[in-house]
């Protein structure tokens, strides 16, 4: 089981919860299960999100392994200039 922290404005789509428990061992599994458990997240996740795993930020990296004790934080998709 992985604890995912989501950012503030998504809480309106997850019945107000700031952290979610998800059974997942990869980036894609985690996103698929988030959408399954909280359909309201689908538009944002389809638009693209980044994932910080133990402080390291991944963009659209499906097979990134996630350990149960990893710190996992959902973040908007990163762009730069």
């Amino acid at each position: 089981m992985v604890t995912v922290t989501i950012w503030g404005s998504l809480r309106a789509l997850t019945d107000g919860r700031a952290t979610l428990e998800v059974e997942a061992s990869t980036f894609k599994q985690l996103l698929d299960r988030l959408v399954r458990d909280y359909p309201g997240l689908r538009p944002q996740i389809e638009r693209g999100v980044s994932l910080a795993v133990d402080g390291r930020i991944y963009r659209e990296a499906w097979f990134t392994p996630i350990k149960p004790d990893s710190e996992v934080v959902l973040m908007p998709y990163m762009t730069g200039g």
Binding site: T5, W7, G8, S9, L10, A12, L13, A18, G40, P43, Q44, A52, D54, G55, R56, I57, Y58, R59, E60, A61, T64, E71, V73, L74, M75, P76, Y77, M78, T79, G80, G81
Partner: protein
């Protein structure tokens, strides 16, 4: 195997030196070819007709007279582009050529291609566009009101609460902890509102491209861009052709800073070229660059912090209202995440809104979204220091984020360089140098995420022992030198044996745009891995020649050597020797690496700025400026310094004189370098630089991106200096002399 110093840290031979850059001679002799420097047989001149209205319905476009004009070979309007299902592509297409509505002053509505520039100009005058002017709005706060004219309806994302006025497209919120409790523990609460005007990247090279399309639909596009692969993806979609049919070649680029990460004229040139059956060249005028490319967001920000008498920040809160112009723009999300990123806070919350206005479509400008947000936060912290009588640097040290800090945008920080950067500033003579009356010293911290992204590199070992690195990221600030250094370092050969070239889209796998300060990090990392790939192959060749097992061969100082005494007595076989035999031992040798790089490390900066303000005119002069920044590992220190100095100069311009000035008619009043005032040489002092190296664990050499952080701190550093010099807190950018003088006079 690499040499290590006494405490196990790697000793670098090439990385960290300052070799001459490979493109230097072409650029100092005028031979380097930029976007507008090429021509083609039968080439036509393309020009674009732009809306004089800030907001208007396009009732009809009559191009008949233009089409009939002798010398005109093609005319296109919005209907000549394939409709796009994807909302992002739809916005880009509509920004390149209006569909039904002109959304800002300068919005493209039609384009012609003709045999000469004069005929093209005359043809534009013959195009009859009947506009139905509509009410417009250019101010972000006004645009957020219910009664504001609606720029585009139905663009609100699901994150925007129902009933919010139509122009609001995004709402986001970040942070953690109990704000009420935090503010309750504060001895002082400081609240202040800020506005910052939109600014432009100000690259000296206007956008330019040369497009051609063959009868069987094959396209060739030469253009100045930060990302030729991205241009190919967008243009292929907008023209309705397949990516393999379009080859995009990146010219040398005359500055970008994020403003050339999208497309404006490229799809138009391709559409004209396809219609005319001849190459079409479009070069923007400076007026067009200002009116119709991608300035930054304009912002309106409220910040509140709670601080104890000892200077500990107990709570931080900000509300950011950004406008990214007439199209939906997510940049506020980055600003909201970055606002308090430099601080270790128990309670923090940032709310961000994006609001449509009748302004050009925002493009990134070096750490998009962060400068305005961090400016507001750093000004409020400086005000708290003044009111509590605390040293601003000490207060930053007390509250600085460090390893293990839960960041304001979510993840916990790993090794980061903010403390070291702050301490370097504290120890520097600039921080204690005396100030005369009328002078002020300002300080600000700054941050940018940096990231990796899709990257491909191929590294070819030539039979003469030289190495060619082929990569896909346009080089604005000297990255080809840094990449050659990393290849040479990993291969153990001299720098001048390596030549790095930038490939067109037909010659290499996909590469993300040059942005996000990613090139030296991600392309460098791919180059190192490509070099290791080549090294493995060269060791295998040596093993075959020596008749021993490949695992028994190592690479040391640019040569294959037996891995140990029992591997056999063979003299080292250098890269050149292996390369010379390569045809006989199995064929050409090359190393490759393709990946979506992650592990980019954040880069923190601290800037110190001394100013003198003329109390009788409100004029601000920057007397001294020092930049401290964590580069992780400075591969080519001269160009790291260049990023630090260049970002500081742009930030100073943003703070003092640069702004998009819109009239009540919604038209841009200063679309030129005369009245859009970028700093000139005589405005600035020498800009001192201090590079910190706190290695990024995500890169074998510890490299962090440095290109964007340097523009973040100057806004507040200059503003805090001016505020302290005149004894009035300034809360609006730019601090033009009329505003500073009005503040002085109001103080009485």
């Amino acid at each position: 195997m690499m040499a290590l110093d006494q405490n196990g840290k790697r000793i670098f031979k090439v990385v960290g030196t300052r070799p001459p850059r490979p493109d230097g001679i072409d650029k100092v002799t005028g031979r380097a070819l930029y976007g507008a420097d090429v021509a083609a047989p039968g080439m036509l001149v393309g020009r674009i007709l732009r809306s004089p209205h800030a907001h208007a319905e396009i009732v009809a476009i009559d191009t008949s007279a233009a089409v009939a004009l002798e010398g005109v070979k093609a005319v296109v309007t919005g209907t000549d582009f394939a409709p796009q299902a994807d909302p992002t592509l739809r916005d880009i297409q509509e920004n390149c050529m209006a569909r039904g509505k002109a959304l800002y002053d300068g919005h493209a509505v039609a384009a012609v291609a003709a045999t000469t520039a004069a005929i093209a100009r005359a043809a534009l005058k013959l195009i009859k566009v009947s506009y139905k002017p509509l009410p417009h709005v250019t101010d972000v706060d006004q645009a957020m009101r219910a009664e504001a004219p609606v720029v585009q309806a139905g663009r609100a994302l699901e994150s925007v609460p129902a009933g919010t006025p139509d122009n609001v497209t995004h709402r986001c919120e970040f942070g953690h902890g109990d704000l009420a409790a935090g503010f309750a523990r504060a001895d002082l609460i400081v609240t202040r509102s800020f506005t910052t005007a939109a600014t432009h990247q100000g690259y000296i090279e206007p956008h330019a491209c040369l497009a051609s399309m063959t009868a069987d639909g094959k396209g060739d596009l030469w253009c100045c861009t930060q990302g030729q692969f991205n241009v190919r993806t967008i243009c292929a979609a907008l023209l309705g052709i397949e990516a393999s049919q379009l080859r995009v070649t990146a010219s040398e680029i005359g500055g970008g800073f994020g403003g050339k990460t999208s497309v404006f004229i490229e799809p138009v040139a391709l559409a004209l070229a396809r219609r005319a059956g001849r190459p079409v060249k479009i070069v923007m005028t400076r007026d067009e660059v200002f009116r119709a490319t991608g300035p930054t967001v304009s912002t309106s920000i409220d910040v509140r912090i709670g601080v104890t008498k000892a200077g500990r920040i107990t709570a931080g809160e900000a509300e950011l209202r950004y406008s990214g112009g007439a199209f939906a723009c997510p940049t506020v999300e980055l600003g909201a995440q970055a606002a308090f990123a430099a601080y270790d806070l128990e309670a923090v919350r940032t709310i961000g809104w994006n609001v449509l206005t009748n302004r050009p479509k925002e493009a990134a400008f070096r750490a998009p979204g962060a400068p305005a947000a961090i400016y507001a936060v750093e000004c409020v912290i400086d005000e708290a220091c003044q009111r509590l009588g605390l040293d601003p640097l000490e207060v930053r040290l007390i509250n600085a984020a460090r390893k293990g800090t839960r960041s304001s945008y979510g993840p916990t920080f790993d090794d980061i360089g903010l403390l070291a950067t702050l301490n370097a500033a504290k120890a520097h003579p600039h921080y204690r140098a005396p100030l005369a009356p009328g002078q002020g010293r300002g300080l600000s911290a700054g941050f940018w995420f940096n990231f990796g992204g899709n990257t491909c590199v191929s590294l070819n070992v030539n039979t003469d022992g030289t190495v060619g690195v082929t990569e896909g990221n346009p080089d604005i600030g000297g990255s080809r030198a840094a990449i050659s250094q990393m290849a040479a370092e990993e291969l153990g050969i001299p720098y001048d044996k390596v030549r790095t070239m930038i490939a067109d889209t037909a010659s290499l796998g996909y590469n993300d745009v040059t942005d996000g300060s990613r090139v030296t990090f991600a392309v460098g990392l791919a180059t190192i891995k490509a070099a290791q790939d080549a090294i493995r192959k060269m060791c295998a060749r040596a093993a075959k020649i020596w008749g021993i097992d490949p695992d028994a061969v190592e690479w040391v100082d640019g040569a294959a050597v037996p891995a140990g005494p029992n591997a056999g007595k063979f003299p080292p076989m250098t890269l050149a020797e292996i390369a010379a035999l390569s045809f006989k031992t199995g064929g050409p040798i090359a190393g490759h690496h393709e990946f979506n790089a992650d592990g980019a490390g954040v880069s923190f900066g601290v800037h110190l700025c001394d100013v003198e303000v003329d109390p009788e005119t409100g004029a601000t002069r920057v007397l001294r400026y020092t930049v401290f920044q964590d580069a992780g590992r400075a591969v080519h220190p001269s160009y790291v310094e260049g990023q630090m100095q260049g970002g500081a100069a742009q930030g100073i311009g943003w703070a003092l004189n640069e702004e998009y000035i819109y009239g009540s008619d919604g038209r841009l009043q200063n679309p030129g370098f005369l009245d859009y005032r970028v700093p000139v040489a005589s405005d600035l002092p020498m800009i001192e630089t201090v590079i910190l190296e706190i290695p990024n664990p995500g890169h074998p050499y510890g490299v962090r991106g440095v290109g964007e952080t340097s523009i973040v701190p100057p806004l507040a550093a200059v503003s805090n200096a001016v505020s302290r010099a005149i004894g009035v807190r300034m809360n609006r950018l730019p601090m033009s002399p009329p505003r500073v003088l009005a503040a002085i006079d109001a103080k009485g």
